[in-house]
Symmetry: C2
Subunit: 187 residues, 2 copies
Amino acid sequence: MTKIPEKRDFPVSQVRRYLEPGSIVLVSSKWRDKTNIMTLGWHTVLEFSPSLVGLMISGGNHSFRMIRESGECVINLPTTALTDTVVGIGNTSGADIDKFAEFGLTAEEASQVDAPLIGECHANFECRLHDDALVQRYNFFIFEVVKAHVAPSPEHPETLHYTGDGVFMVAGEIIDRRSLFRPEMLG
Amino acid sequence: MTKIPEKRDFPVSQVRRYLEPGSIVLVSSKWRDKTNIMTLGWHTVLEFSPSLVGLMISGGNHSFRMIRESGECVINLPTTALTDTVVGIGNTSGADIDKFAEFGLTAEEASQVDAPLIGECHANFECRLHDDALVQRYNFFIFEVVKAHVAPSPEHPETLHYTGDGVFMVAGEIIDRRSLFRPEMLG
């Protein structure tokens, strides 16, 4: 069993710290009393404040309609401790199974949305639909992160970056170049 | 000097292999006989075929107008060999300097667009503007990758994933889980 890290509130305007590196994320949703989880690698930060992120959610996913109808989701950041869980979630459909039960994950209550947090993940970002202008054309949802929960330790967890074809890259090692940045570029 | 890797044509429908992991990229552009380069971490894959990618290009960048007016750019994938170059490009403006000259980079001719390829990068993706529906509201450009050039070696180069605040994560180590995927999820 993966342990559940203790998390703290984190400023929503700073979630790029965890999302800009581009790891695969687990997106949890709830609609009509059912929950679901999908893996997602096609996402980007769009704005600091309001805290906006864009997610491309393929229409073939069981989660698509749940997120479309509820207008909510939670973006959860898994670490390498959850590698096989991430693969399992990506290989199954919420039409067939209860993914929280099947993969032994803990659904924790969110504070701003009905969709559950995944306790075992390093960070959880509660999201509300901000703009659906590109949903019909590209399945591209723009969400506002309305609440963020992050485990303070480890400071730089190992994350999974999907290349397709069953292969992940692992990011974890750090290069610090603060000293080379102009002050106004930091913070 | 960073050496210039030899590249081969690569299928545009498979660029997710290099972009989905979410590394920082260098975006080169050309407009009215001037070239420029910017660093960019806010991007996502949107579709396999046509090969669509979304880039959030902040209006404060000198590149913004060049890309907006020309409707073209090249997405270049730097490796850790170019770390200090990436930082330097992000810390300077094309309004003040010629970035190719300043950073000793080689502008190579593209085949489908006027914007130059950066020779020293591991991969180059020539892009043409596909949809500007969200440019005014979010500075979000949807491009079609019309031609891709990739160095066949190394197979998994070390890439830079920006967290903000002058700190990068490095991805390079590989986890192969092909054996756990359903066949239709691979390819």
